[in-house]
């Protein structure tokens, strides 16, 4: 029981104090599970990162599930995953109710109008960041350009595009 509670609290903390999602959460996860609790070694942590890259879903969830299993089996993985999701759930619930309460306020409208172009820039920057580590040769650039064309102008479904891209990977590499 003790270890399950410890897992829950640790991942709750990771969920509650890491902003920006994705890789921005890594330093905190690393500190908690390697330095504070000694649950895994840094080599194992790198393994978890590699697996997270190749599996669907947010990296925080992936590491919570993996570590929870490693420390306390299937129950451990459920508890750690719940812990990491809980703060998101609570904070977003509060925010949602707050935004809805003040929906009619011109301030809320102004805030969102100002934020939207920033969000567009942020998403664009994500494409650039991923491209920097992904465009390793001419083949990868061609895959990206071809898929961009079909998804944007030929209404190819993004999920289908991912499946197709996986097939192209096998063919080309």
């Amino acid at each position: 029981m003790g270890i399950l509670l410890e897992l829950f609290i640790t991942f709750f903390k990771i969920g509650a104090f890491s902003f920006g999602g994705g890789y921005a959460m890594l330093p905190l996860i690393e500190e908690e599970v390697i330095q504070v609790h000694n649950w895994i070694s840094s080599t194992e942590f790198i393994d978890i990162l590699a697996i997270s890259e190749m599996t669907p879903g947010p990296i925080a969830i992936n590491s919570a599930t993996f570590l929870g299993y490693k420390v306390a089996g299937v129950f451990g993985s459920a508890v750690a995953t719940l812990g990491v999701v809980m703060p998101s759930f609570i904070v977003m619930s509060l925010i949602f109710h707050f935004v809805y309460k003040f929906k009619e306020s011109p301030y809320v409208d102004w805030i969102f109008k100002g934020i939207r172009p920033v969000v567009l820039g942020l998403i664009a920057s994500a494409a650039v960041t991923v491209a920097k580590s992904t465009f390793i040769d001419i083949k990868s650039v061609i895959i990206a350009i071809v898929l961009f064309f079909f998804v944007t102008f030929k209404k190819l479904n993004p999920i289908l595009a991912i499946v197709l891209a996986g097939g192209l990977g096998v063919l080309l590499y």
Binding site: G20, M54, F89, F112, A124, S140
Partner: protein, 177 residues
């Protein structure tokens, strides 16, 4: 409806590789374009709030969309949908860890998927951009954000806050006049 929401977010969770922003094109396609559950502006608001809150952006966005569509139960359904595919996959891998590590085919598949993620995100930006029909001022803000994030080590949260605050100040001044 709840079951439908769960399934949709399960699909989103299952095909989101490379974390956070990689799911934006899929959410946009499934929820904004196809099902029309929310519109582009609401979607961008959800992303802004998700970005400014702690925790994974994907989970935050699903909680927000869930509330928007069907309140508390909706939030639970969407969050479960997003989390379960990754939970199940990782659990399976954790149990059979060593069989997974050396597999050439999986490596090749991901050589293909990674550049596709770039294409999908770029395509989502293009579509949102077209629909928003921004003027030069907002184009400058978006481009500025892009350059700052790419070339400087600044947390996106500050830019989100600056965007909101700046807009309030400008509009406040305009109203006074």
């Amino acid at each position: 409806m709840l079951w439908n929401m769960f399934l949709t977010f399960f699909k989103i969770g299952a095909f989101t590789f490379g974390g956070g922003y990689a799911m934006i094109p899929i959410i946009q396609e499934e929820i904004v374009e196809k099902k029309k559950w929310i519109d582009d502006n609401e979607f961008m608001d959800a992303i802004a709030l998700a970005q400014a809150s702690p925790g994974p952006v994907a989970v935050n966005t699903s909680v927000y969309c869930g509330y928007k569509l069907k309140g508390f139960k909706g939030a639970i359904a969407c969050t479960m949908g997003t989390v379960l595919p990754s939970f199940i996959t990782i659990l399976i891998i954790a149990i059979f860890f060593f069989q997974f590590r050396a597999n050439a085919i999986i490596d090749q598949i991901f050589m293909g998927i990674r550049p596709a993620v770039v294409a999908l995100i770029a395509s989502a930006v293009y579509k949102m951009w077209k629909k928003a029909q921004y003027g030069y001022d907002k184009f400058a803000i978006a481009l500025g954000t892009l350059l700052i994030i790419v070339f400087m080590d600044i947390s996106p949260i500050w830019l989100v806050i600056a965007g909101g605050l700046g807009s309030v100040i400008i509009n406040k001044l305009r109203v006074k006049k």
